[in-house]
C-alpha cells in the first residue's frame, strides 16, 4: 500500500471551504480536514492542523472555522505542548516514497493574536532514505507522564512504525546516534498514550484517501514499556500485524483515521480523528471528536449524546430522574397497597384501565380491581399502550415543578427527550441540548441556588442548556451550561435515593454518573 496523500494536497485546501450543512449531531462549521493533529487548547480556543496546511480553530470544540496556516505545511502534522512550547511535527515526501522527512517547528502560542505567536524552525527530527524499511511520515508525539520523556512515533505502511526519543527542552531528536525502535508494522498515523500502567500504540490501518471506499480503521496494542512489545488483545504483536479495533466505519461516516487524545481531566477523555467520507457532507473528509472509554484495560470508542428520548438513571441509586408529580400507573391505577381510596383525586379525562373504549394509560383513575376472572396477576387482557403524556399531564401543575428521582415505572414524567439546540454553541464533540419531558416542552433547568427545576417551557437560557459527556466507564456526566450566579461548573448529582441536585463533579464518586437508557 502506498500513501496517497501527496497527490491530494490541493483537496485539503478545498475541504476547508466546503459549504457544510449544519448537522445537529456532527461537528458544526468548517470541519473539512484530513489527518488532524492532536487538538490543542490555547488562549481559550481549540486548534488542529491537517495535511496540506489545513488549520481549524474553535471557541467551544463544537463549531469550527478556518484557522491560520502554519508557516510550514506538509502531511499529517502533530502538535504537543511541552513546558511553554507547542512543538509541531510535519512530514513531507522528499522524493519517491518512501523517502521522507519529519520537520519540527515550535511556537509559544497557537493564537495568531498572541504576541507569543511566532513559529521557529527546529529542523529535521526523523527521515527515511527511500531504501530502508520505513516511510518517515505521520508523526505522533507523546510525553510520558511517568518520567517526562518525549517520544515520537512515525511511519506509514512501507516498513515499520518507528519510535525515537526527543529532547523535551528543544523538541529535537535527543540522541541521533541511537537507532529508532521498531514497534509496529502495516500501520500509519500512529501515536502513543499512557493509561493505568500501560503504554498504548494507536495506529490507522486500511486504505486511505479513497472517500467512501476507504477502509481506514484505528487499531491499538499495548505494552508495559514504551519501547514495546505492543500486543493486541489476542497477544499478537503489532510488529506482526496485531491490533485491536478501536473504531471503524459506522452510520453515515466511513474510514476512521488519525487518533489524537484529548484528556480533559476529571476522568473525562475524548479523541480526535477524521472520517475519510462523511456521507452527509458529500463524502468529504471531516474532523470528529468522540468520547474515549476504557473497558478491561482497552480503549473503546464512545458515542456523543444523540437526540432521542431516554430514561436518565443514576448509577449511584438506580432511581431515575423524574418530574416531581404524582405518577399514574401505566394502564391506570388499581386497588391495593398504596392505591387510592375514597377521596382519591379526580381521574383525568379519558382515564381508565385500558378497557375497550377507554384510553388506556391515562390519568389517575379511581380504584379498580382486576377484571373478573383474571385474578390478581392476570392483567387486564390485551395490550396496554404506552402512557400518553397529553393525558396524564392534565393534572400536572402548570408552573415550575421540582425534579426528583424514583423507581422507574415507565411513566410519562420519567421520560426525557434530548434535543440539540441550534445556534446555542456546544462543547468538544457535541452541541448543547435541552432536556424536556418527552412530548412536552417542560424543560430541566438549573436554579440560582444550584438546585434543579423543571420549567413550563424552554426559553433558551444558558441554565436550560445541557452538556452531556460520556465518561471513561460509558456513563454520562450531565452539566448545565451555566448556573445562575455561579462561575463554578456543576453537574447533575444524585443526593440520597430520591432527590437530585447540582454539585461539583467528583470523578471518584458515582453520584454524578448517569445512564441514558432507552425507555
Amino acid at each position: 500500500m502506498r500513501n496517497e496523500r501527496k497527490r491530494l494536497l490541493p483537496w485539503a485546501l478545498l475541504a476547508t471551504v466546503l459549504p457544510l450543512a449544519s448537522l445537529l449531531w456532527a461537528l458544526d462549521g468548517q470541519i473539512g480536514i484530513h489527518d488532524p493533529s492532536t487538538i490543542m487548547f490555547c488562549n481559550g480556543k481549540y486548534y488542529t492542523y491537517g495535511t496540506g496546511g489545513t488549520a481549524l480553530v474553535s471557541d467551544d470544540g463544537w463549531i469550527w472555522r478556518a484557522g491560520t496556516r502554519p508557516p510550514r505545511s506538509g502531511m499529517a502534522p502533530d502538535v504537543i505542548k511541552v513546558g511553554d512550547r507547542y512543538y509541531m511535527y510535519i512530514s513531507r515526501n522528499v522524493g519517491a516514497q518512501p523517502r521522507a522527512e519529519i520537520n519540527m517547528i515550535w511556537s509559544k502560542s497557537l493564537d495568531p493574536e498572541s504576541p507569543d505567536y511566532k513559529w521557529e524552525e527546529g529542523g529535521i527530527v526523523a527521515s527515511s532514505d527511500g531504501v530502508e524499511d520505513c516511510n518517515a511520515i505521520d508523526p505522533g508525539a507523546f510525553l510520558d507522564p511517568t518520567d517526562g520523556r518525549l517520544w515520537l512515533t512515525y511511519g506509514s505502511y512501507f516498513g515499520y512504525i518507528r519510535l525515537i526519543e526527543l529532547d523535551p527542552k528543544t523538541g529535537k531528536r535527543l540522541n541521533p546516534n541511537v537507532p529508532p525502535v521498531n514497534i509496529g508494522i502495516n500501520l500509519e498515523a500512529t501515536t502513543l498514550i499512557y493509561h493505568d500502567g500501560w503504554y498504548y500504540l494507536l495506529g490507522t490501518r486500511g486504505s486511505c484517501c479513497r472517500g467512501a471506499d476507504s477502509g481506514y480503521n484505528i487499531r491499538v496494542g499495548r505494552a508495559k514499556k514504551v519501547t514495546g512489545p505492543y500486543l493486541d488483545h489476542t497477544g499478537l504483536d503489532m510488529l506482526r500485524g496485531g491490533g485491536k479495533l478501536l473504531i471503524g466505519s459506522g452510520g453515515r461516516v466511513i474510514g476512521a483515521g488519525h487518533f489524537g487524545l484529548i484528556d480533559l481531566g476529571d476522568g473525562v477523555q475524548k479523541f480526535s480523528m477524521h472520517w475519510e467520507a462523511d456521507l452527509d457532507r458529500g463524502g468529504a473528509s471531516v474532523l470528529d471528536i468522540r468520547p474515549l472509554l476504557w473497558k478491561d484495560g482497552w480503549p473503546v470508542a464512545g458515542e456523543n449524546a444523540k437526540p432521542g428520548t431516554y430514561v436518565i438513571e443514576s448509577v449511584r441509586t438506580g432511581t431515575v430522574l423524574e418530574l416531581a408529580v404524582e405518577g399514574v400507573p401505566v394502564g391506570g391505577r388499581r386497588a391495593g397497597r398504596g392505591g387510592p381510596a375514597a377521596g382519591a383525586p379526580a381521574a383525568a379525562p379519558g382515564a381508565g384501565r385500558g378497557e375497550p373504549g377507554a384510553p388506556a394509560g391515562a390519568g389517575a383513575a379511581g380504584a379498580q380491581g382486576p377484571p373478573a376472572g383474571r385474578g390478581m396477576f392476570g392483567g387486564i387482557g390485551g395490550v396496554i399502550p404506552d402512557q400518553d403524556v397529553a393525558q396524564v399531564s392534565v393534572n400536572w401543575p402548570a408552573g415550575p415543578v421540582d425534579a426528583r428521582m424514583a423507581n422507574y415505572l415507565c411513566q410519562a414524567q420519567q421520560k426525557w427527550t434530548l434535543t440539540p439546540v441550534p445556534n446555542a454553541g456546544g462543547y468538544l464533540g457535541s452541541p448543547y441540548f435541552k432536556i424536556t419531558i418527552a412530548g412536552t416542552d417542560r424543560t430541566l433547568a438549573a436554579t440560582e441556588d444550584a438546585e434543579l427545576v423543571v420549567l413550563p417551557a424552554f426559553t433558551g437560557g444558558p441554565e436550560q442548556l445541557w452538556r452531556l459527556d460520556q465518561l471513561t466507564d460509558g456513563t454520562w456526566r450531565i452539566m448545565p451550561k451555566a448556573v445562575p450566579g455561579s462561575k463554578q461548573p456543576l453537574a447533575l448529582s444524585a443526593v440520597g435515593a430520591s432527590f437530585v441536585t447540582l454539585a461539583k463533579f467528583d470523578p471518584k464518586s458515582d453520584k454524578q454518573r448517569w445512564l441514558l437508557k432507552t425507555p
Partner: protein, 251 residues
C-alpha cells in the same frame, strides 16, 4: 398451583410471622416493665391497655442527646397514631395538610401533652430510639394502637451551637412522609415505600443557631412503619454538631 401460591406466600411472610411471634413473646416476657410514667401509658381515651414497652424505644433520661455516630436523630416526641388512608402524592398531601388539632404545624409539644383528634384523646410521647431509625410499629404496638392506615406526627428540637449553612435534611420512611424545618416544608416522599437511609433529601438548608424545630408526618399503609432522619453536609457527610432535645413533662 394454588398450593404452590399458598406456600410461596407463607414463605414470603414467614419472617414477618416469626418476628411477630418474637415480639409477642418479648412483650409477654417484659410485661410489668413499663416505666410507669405517663408517656408510655395509653391515653385516657384508649379503649385497650398498653402492651408494655417498645423494644427499641425508651424514655429519655438526659436533658439532651447527641446524634448517633452516623448523625441520626434519636430523640423525638411522637403522637399516638391518627387514622389515615392513602399514599399517593396528593392523598398524603391532603392527609398531612388537614388540621387534626390546633397548632398542628407550630406547636412544640411537651412529653405527655394531650390533643383531641375527633373523639380520641391522643398523647405525645418523648422517645429515644436505640437504633438509627424510630420504629413506629413498636411505638404504636406497645400502646395497643393501630399500626396500619395511620398518620404519625413527630417533632424534635435541633439545638445548634452555631449557624450551619448548606446542610440537607436526609430522611427515610415507611411509608410516605412530609417534613418541615422551622415551619417550612422541605421534603415529601410518597407511595408505599420502605425506609431507606437518605431516601428523601431536602434542598440546601440553614440550621439556625439555637433551637430549630423539625416536624414530620409519616403516613403508613399496612405492615411495618418507621422513619430515620439526619442532616448531611455539602460532602454528604453526617452533620453531628448539634444536640437534640424535647420538652419534658414537668416544664
Amino acid at each position: 398451583m394454588v398450593l404452590m401460591l399458598a406456600l410461596r406466600r407463607l414463605t414470603r411472610y414467614a419472617p414477618a410471622l416469626l418476628a411477630g411471634l418474637a415480639l409477642l413473646s418479648f412483650v409477654a416476657a417484659s410485661s410489668g416493665q413499663t416505666r410507669g410514667a405517663a408517656p408510655n401509658q395509653p391515653s385516657a381515651a384508649a379503649a385497650k391497655p398498653g402492651r408494655g414497652p417498645a423494644p427499641t424505644l425508651t424514655a429519655p433520661t438526659t436533658p439532651s442527646k447527641a446524634p448517633s455516630p452516623d448523625g441520626f436523630i434519636q430523640r423525638w416526641l411522637l403522637l399516638q397514631p391518627i387514622p389515615a388512608n392513602g399514599l399517593t402524592d396528593s392523598q398524603v398531601q391532603a392527609i398531612v395538610k388537614k388540621e387534626y388539632f390546633p397548632g398542628q404545624f407550630t406547636v412544640v409539644p411537651r412529653d405527655g401533652d394531650k390533643v383531641k383528634v375527633g373523639d380520641a384523646e391522643l398523647v405525645w410521647h418523648a422517645m429515644d430510639t436505640k437504633l438509627y431509625n424510630v420504629n413506629l410499629y413498636h411505638f404504636a404496638y406497645a400502646l395497643n394502637k393501630p399500626t396500619s392506615n395511620v398518620l404519625f406526627w413527630a417533632v424534635t428540637i435541633i439545638q445548634c451551637p452555631r449557624e450551619l449553612r448548606n446542610v440537607r435534611l436526609a430522611i427515610g420512611s415507611n411509608a410516605a412522609s412530609v417534613w418541615w424545618l422551622n415551619g417550612k416544608e422541605v421534603i415529601g416522599i410518597y407511595g408505599d415505600r420502605q425506609t431507606t437511609i437518605d431516601d428523601g433529601v431536602s434542598k440546601r438548608l440553614t440550621l439556625n443557631k439555637g433551637p430549630n424545630i423539625l416536624r414530620a408526618a409519616i403516613v403508613n399503609g399496612g405492615g411495618a412503619t418507621d422513619f430515620c432522619a439526619r442532616f448531611l453536609d455539602e460532602e454528604d457527610r453526617p452533620v453531628k454538631d448539634f444536640t437534640v432535645t424535647v420538652i419534658p413533662q414537668d416544664k
